[in-house]
């Protein structure tokens, strides 16, 4: 995973900066943070326990959406020419955008440990019903996704996002 982190470092940075953003949004103090480093994990944000379960769910799951959406937006203009006219028809900028977008989307999933904490809290009896309804199934999906990351599911997910979103956009526009 260390090599993947190096090759896709923008994704690590975006994931950790997104977590920092959600901490800030929830007024949660950051105890320590590494936004990128060689090794595993490539980055982390260590924060104080948030006041509510919903804030914890947001801090842990928020980066998943940021990485997914940002990765798709950045990769799409690079992927469209390659999808339509062939892999050898792209400009340097197209390939850079594809790499950047895929790197970001690949790092959408949190670590297994973080995903497990969110799943347990989002589904706990004492958690408010609304948080359970909104965060419960999502936290399960993300937990399973993060487990799949051990088998490269994160890479498959990232590549699928950068290929499928442009096709979906073209289909909707057409």
């Amino acid at each position: 995973m260390g090599l993947i982190n190096i090759l896709t470092f923008p994704g690590v940075v975006v994931h950790e900066l997104a977590r920092r953003f959600f901490c800030r949004l929830s007024r949660v103090a950051i105890l320590d943070a590494k936004y990128f480093g060689i090794g595993d994990p490539g980055g982390y944000v260590d924060y104080e326990p948030p006041r509510t379960a919903w804030q914890l769910v947001m801090i842990e799951i928020g980066p998943f959406f940021v990485n997914t959406i940002l990765g798709a937006i950045i990769a799409t203009p690079g992927v469209i020419p390659l999808l339509l006219f062939g892999i050898d028809s792209g400009s340097v900028l197209d390939y850079v955008l594809v790499w950047l977008g895929a790197s970001i989307a690949i790092h959408a999933f949190p670590t297994v440990e973080d995903a497990k904490i969110v799943k347990d809290i989002a589904n706990a009896k004492e958690t408010p019903a609304l948080t359970q309804v909104l965060g419960g199934p999502l936290s399960w999906a993300i937990y399973l996704g993060s487990l799949g990351s051990l088998y490269w599911l994160d890479v498959v997910y990232g590549i699928a996002i950068v290929i499928l979103v442009p096709q979906l956009l073209l289909m909707l526009k057409g």
Binding site: V14, A29, E48, I73, P77, L93, V96, L100, L170, K173
Partner: protein, 159 residues
């Protein structure tokens, strides 16, 4: 008597309620704004540049790509005039793309508009493209030449 909690950082007694870690508002605010190293800020800036470039290009490419795909669908359905219109629209977004130009030339020719097809065929001479497209263009050019050759004696006779 229980000890009153004080801020872990500065010792202030005005700690914020409902947090596990006792911190005053000012110290928590300082920790929320955890410093981002300059190298990370530089990477974030480059990502923002990538995002800006993507956002500028995105509408144009989606518009052009959808027009090209409509052209392919019309071409498949044998609606050559509609295909030519869609390819011409796609060409506005991909001004010198070999594949779009080739499909446009073929659609013009099949729609009976050789006058518009011929300049594009000249423009495509020497360009690299797929074997299928090259073959289709070759056939196009041959049919245009044949049509013109057969039209020539008729014009001569008319004179």
């Amino acid at each position: 008597m229980p000890e009153t909690p004080t801020c872990q950082k500065c010792g202030s007694k005005a700690i914020e309620p409902r947090y596990e870690i006792p911190l005053c508002r000012r110290c928590r605010q300082a920790m929320i704004g955890h410093r981002i190293p300059d190298g990370i800020l530089a990477i974030a800036l480059l990502i923002l540049v990538g995002l800006a470039l993507a956002l500028v290009r995105l509408p144009r490419l989606v518009e052009g790509g959808a027009a090209y795909q409509r052209g392919l669908a019309y071409e498949k359905a044998g609606e050559d005039e509609a295909a030519a219109k869609s390819y011409a629209a796609a060409l506005r977004f991909f001004p010198d793309d070999t594949t779009v130009l080739a499909h446009l030339a073929i659609a013009y020719h099949r729609a009976g508009d050789d006058d518009d097809a011929q300049p594009i065929l000249y423009r495509l001479v020497g360009r690299t493209m797929s074997g299928d497209l090259k073959q289709a263009l070759g056939l196009c050019q041959k049919e245009i030449n044949d049509r013109r050759a057969s039209a020539q004696p008729a014009q001569d006779n008319a004179h």
